[in-house]
Amino acid sequence: MMEFLDQLWSLNLDRETVFGLFEQGLVFAIGMTAILASLGVILCATPIYSALYLIVNMMCLALLFLLYNAEFLAAVQVIVYAGAVMILFLFIIALLGAKKEKRDLSFQNLAGLGFVGLLFCELLMSMMVGETKPVEGRVTLEVVQQVGSAKAIGIELFSHHIIPFELASLLLLVAVVGIISLAKFSNKQLRKRTRF
Amino acid sequence: MNHLITAIVFLPMVAAIVIMMTKVVRNHNEKVIAIAIGASFLTFLGALGLVVVFDSDHHGMQLVTSVEWVSVLNIYYKVGVDGISLCLVVLTAFLGALAIYFSQDHRKNLKYFLALILMLESGTMGVFVAMDSILFYVFWELMLIPTYFLIGIWGEGNKVYATTKFVIYTLVGSLLMLIGLIWVTMVHYDLTQTLTFDIPTLLQTQIPADIQLYMFLFFFLAFAVKLPIFPFHSWLPHAYVSCPIPVLILMTGAMSKAGAYGLIRFCLPLFPEAIADWGLWIATAAAGGIVYGAWIAMMQRDLKALVAYSSISHLGLIALGIFAFNGQGIEGSVLQMVNHGIIASALFIIVGILEKRLRTRNLDQIRGMKTQMPVLYGIFMLITLAALGMPGLNGFVGEFLILMGVWGSHLLDGMAGLLVLAAGLGIVFASVYMLFMFQGTMQEPLEPKFDDVKDLNWKELNLLIPACILVVAIGLYPKPVIDRVSPAVDHMLHMEKKFKAFGADSGLGGGH
């Protein structure tokens, strides 16, 4: 980001640079929007607004994926997250009713704020590290553009990562079974545990 | 013959697994009982075979089987017997057979009950034959686990409390022991640069005097809790009162001996200097336990509790003999372990029979059973007399040897008179409470509500007759037992330390 600002200040502009700057500006703007949207998620008192902000955040991220040359993932992000998952959220909110949540400055919240602030600072320190790994990948931008993002991912997935892929399918199966059992058998009253 | 010991130790365990996998339909337990009895009797026969094969002139471990177990750490499956463990293995096998035979009557989930008892037997025998310290520890814990379930599930009264207390108390001790075992190995490694868990080799280690005490405490606590020695006994009354009688036979007869066995096997050879410093205190505690247990036993009205406290008293005597640290004391202790195993188990069987018949164990409610049960009267009398140390019966021989050992002990020189007097007081008290128990239940006019009680049946007679025969036989001719124990004890007392920490300054070489 500092780089971007330097370039902006130096005003060393040509066509390539302008497009580059524009793209960078776009990325920056979308990133900031994502951050703001995520702030919106956690700051809105009503879940429905949170859900909407989350959609915004996901769309932003999908755009960022697009800008970082991951067209396939961007599509998946939109379909799976913004589509399926968020719809699910909205359904549940509709089902349970969205009550407003009282906010207070309890110890819990303050402590959470403190810790998360620390965490944030620590995470930011990772920015100071810089490049740690030399670029040696073989799937360059050109290659991807040549075969198309979906195909590239498909080749990679089915050639190198077949086992995680299958495991993921297994996970989905388990999730399905779990949901069915939750929906079907969990009508018993929960027992209050006694101290002893 | 090479794998006889392995066979004896694992036969009950295999039988236990077979029993657990056997299907029992609607309490038709005959098949399970047959397997259990068969296995336990085969084990006992095997143990008798061990006696035949055993060479009583030889002091070291015999019939050793050694198989590599964990090669990285040099842990071996290594078993063998010497005279001391031979006695205890035979005792355990005998009591195991008794316990199984006694647990035939109807009981919930009988097959698991039998299987756990067999596991307990297996673990206990394993402790006595293990020659690798890690193997020893594994068997030590294996002995504990079945007991937890046996008391917790089939017990009576406040059983969960009792079993929890017992297991936690014992477990604390045995974990300390594990630390101690590893520590000894490390010290041995420092001295010789060889990593081994082999017990006979480890016993050769001369442990530096300054750390002996701490190491000794690690071991001692485990054994003192298991035995138990006086202030560490508080699990015993609860556990014994809650424990079902068949389990109690093994627990009091064999399992508690594991503590004494550990003291003899580890503490005496490894830590002569710590014992030289602390033996007197421990012996005093043991003597205190003799009097204390007997004194409280006198106040009990519950027969089971009475025998439980009397066990504390008798086990105190065993501990006292061990810490006399000389031949007579230790031989007497080993003999007394056998004797107490026989006597206490017989007493518990009798209590169990009475309880089954009369539905009570309260001394105040039982009167004059002699009229109804003349055979039990005779047997009970014999066992009572043995328990209170009547000469001519086995209890006396052990007591005499122990007290003689204490009297002549160099370690306990200053206090020997007092200790023997305390033990003597314990014996006097023993006569009081045993007679309370025997006369209270058996004599005086019969309580009318018990006038349809039947005498012993054949099964119960079969349980008690072997004990009676042994009580008389050991009393009249203890030499065979002593002959087998004696070489091992002598060897242990005069052991030359091969691996010395500090040159010629060897301190107490063998304890004398």
Binding site: L54, L88, M127, G137, R138, F165, L171 | -
Partner: protein, 99 residues
């Protein structure tokens, strides 16, 4: 834009997600916060995948999405079940795991 920007955005979103998870009481919002955190990581993976010319990151992200989807579905089902039995949704009141 360089890797710092990716790091910055993902760290910020991640922290915000964590904050949301800690301070919010509504389980739905908490789940959303979890999604935020997951997405933040996904973004990091995708961004670095592009920098490093490797597709591994994207595949990782793909699988995370799968997991996240499964997690959300199961989680929402659990929330629904809890709501059915307790008729409220304040996580502070759901403390049957109390020791």
């Amino acid at each position: 834009m360089g890797s710092e920007f990716v790091l910055f955005v993902s760290a910020t979103v991640f922290s915000i997600g964590a904050l949301g998870f800690v301070i919010r009481k509504n389980p739905l919002v908490m789940f959303m916060s979890v999604e935020l955190m997951l997405n933040a990581v996904n973004f990091l993976l995708v961004g670095y995948s592009s920098f490093l010319n490797s597709l591994d990151g994207q595949i990782f992200a793909l699988i995370i999405m799968t997991v996240a989807a499964a997690e959300v579905v199961v989680g929402l089902a659990i929330i629904l079940t809890i709501f059915r039995t307790r008729h409220e949704l304040d996580v502070d009141h759901i403390n049957i795991l109390k020791g």
